[in-house]
Symmetry: C2
Amino acid sequence: MVTIKDVARIARVSVATVSRVLNDSELVRGNTRERVRQAALELGYSPHGAARSLITNRTHTLGVLLPDIYGEFFSEVIRGIDQAAQREGYHLLVSSARDDLESALRSMRGRVDGLIVMSPALDAGASRRSLPERFPVVLLNCPPSDAAYDSLGIANFEGAHAMVRHLAGLGHRRIAIIRGAEKNFDAAERLRGYRAAVKQLGLDASPGLELPGDFSEAAGHAAARTIVESGLRPTAVFAANDCMAIGALSAFREAGQQVPVDIAVTGFDDIPMARYVEPALTSVHVDISALGERATAWLLDALGEPSVRNLRRETLATTLVVRRSCGAQSQ
Amino acid sequence: MVTIKDVARIARVSVATVSRVLNDSELVRGNTRERVRQAALELGYSPHGAARSLITNRTHTLGVLLPDIYGEFFSEVIRGIDQAAQREGYHLLVSSARDDLESALRSMRGRVDGLIVMSPALDAGASRRSLPERFPVVLLNCPPSDAAYDSLGIANFEGAHAMVRHLAGLGHRRIAIIRGAEKNFDAAERLRGYRAAVKQLGLDASPGLELPGDFSEAAGHAAARTIVESGLRPTAVFAANDCMAIGALSAFREAGQQVPVDIAVTGFDDIPMARYVEPALTSVHVDISALGERATAWLLDALGEPSVRNLRRETLATTLVVRRSCGAQSQ
DNA sequence: GGCCGAAATGTAAACGTTTACATTGCCTTT
DNA sequence: AAAGGCAATGTAAACGTTTACATTTCGGCC
């Protein structure tokens, strides 16, 4: 392994000079600068990241902690993060730590300059305590907490509320919801938005209309079957995410129910697939990659000025995307 | 920042002993072991990754270099990698380096123990030369090269060949192909498979039946329009990936052509979306996450025994998935 | 020509670990 | 009781950088 010493030897200078050249210091003569550059190139030298990190206390790496690496959502969010990070020359240390956030966090110490943590579990308070005190962290889609971290999320409540309003506007009075995962913050917020709208608009509010789910396609399928077999007879079904909506679509098709004629179905997230299913799915659009980009921007910001800053807390707006599955005429 | 020295001081032992405890060395008495554990816990100590890497020359991190972080393919492959890596306690340093593989590689020096590189560009020979000589690397979906690296890919040729055979078996004689990106290895192989099958089965082989594409949905849409407007009149269209097939589906629908009655459409990759489009897409299934898992397994293997091993080279089999878009009765 | 200050370069400490080697203490053996 | 051996612990060097500080070089000025 070729080190800075080798370069120094070849260029006939001290290691300090080599280091200076490589870090674009001003105080080295053009002459020697060239000699060093040449030597480095010749030897195919590139500095040892760990050694550099040790002394500078900077890794130029951002840690990304996700509950699970799965599906389109993850893909999009990490794309946004990567884009923003790469622009500033930062690397990404990615880890899916559904089971053990704590240990994942520990093992990232001394490896990253900051963290983007997505842990929508409602009871994650404990693991969050294991974050170092004054370490730059941005929370993604996390329940609001007393913790002193920047926090970024999406407008779950408002999105769900808007969706129910939209359905009500189409004349629906009995709207069922397929709930998201238990203990999931996003799921809880969407449910809250649903309930608020139902109450506000004076819609039918039987507890039976709230079906359990866990964000999986299978759960959507099961919920739709329950609806078909029970006597609930809702005229519309709002699934807490698109996957479940898609599962519901196929269940209804199997049961011989026509969507949207017999029953309207809508989702949440507007994943790319939503526009391709049959019928195309009405959903709540979330700009997922923007979420990642923004989180990264914040984090890099915080890295720049590690002084005490006031907490940032923001909720990204959502927009209703009307397609055929809800039965509205507008395409 | 709490270091090993602090722990040593609190536990009233030397740093060596602390280190030994933390690395599960046998030669420390249960008594002191407990004292150290206690102190570490109390202080919330966790070892500094960079410092550790510097001395051990191990980072416990795998580098993942992708041409682009985009869409389902990436998501799946990285999921496979992550799964396998996590099992062995390895981290993932992910980077999308479409533009500058070279610099991405350099900046990973001293940060990773091995690399998984996916660079399907046909002219990537140059950048590959910038890989350190005897460094563990697994190439993914790369053109075969003289380079001395393990290489893992998918059976593009065979998959395309099988698809054309399948279509021919349904009675099609004029089968068009929407080609993948120029200079892309996978694309070239799929084209080769198409041509071989066409020739072997004595199908119509007009050059006009080979339409340009770049793996994007838009390209598929454009190609389908060309087909509709030209006098080519193929009875089946084989798109080199599912995205393009989906684009073609929508173009045909807009043109009032019924799939599969008027024209059959098939794809490649079998992304999750394929089964949800209307009509469900016949495709060539590739187990993408298995690709990632296997690559990781190889890499970890190589890390274990850095002696001279013979090169591994493997091609993952594909399977035909018949759905409605090709017009076969079998569901 | 000697001196001064600035510019260029060198020297060595520091970063937080691991680990080879040295030291200590204790038990067994004679 | 002395010697020897082994288990437990300590000491310090090493890893490859960066950087504060020391030293050298050099040009210009008197």
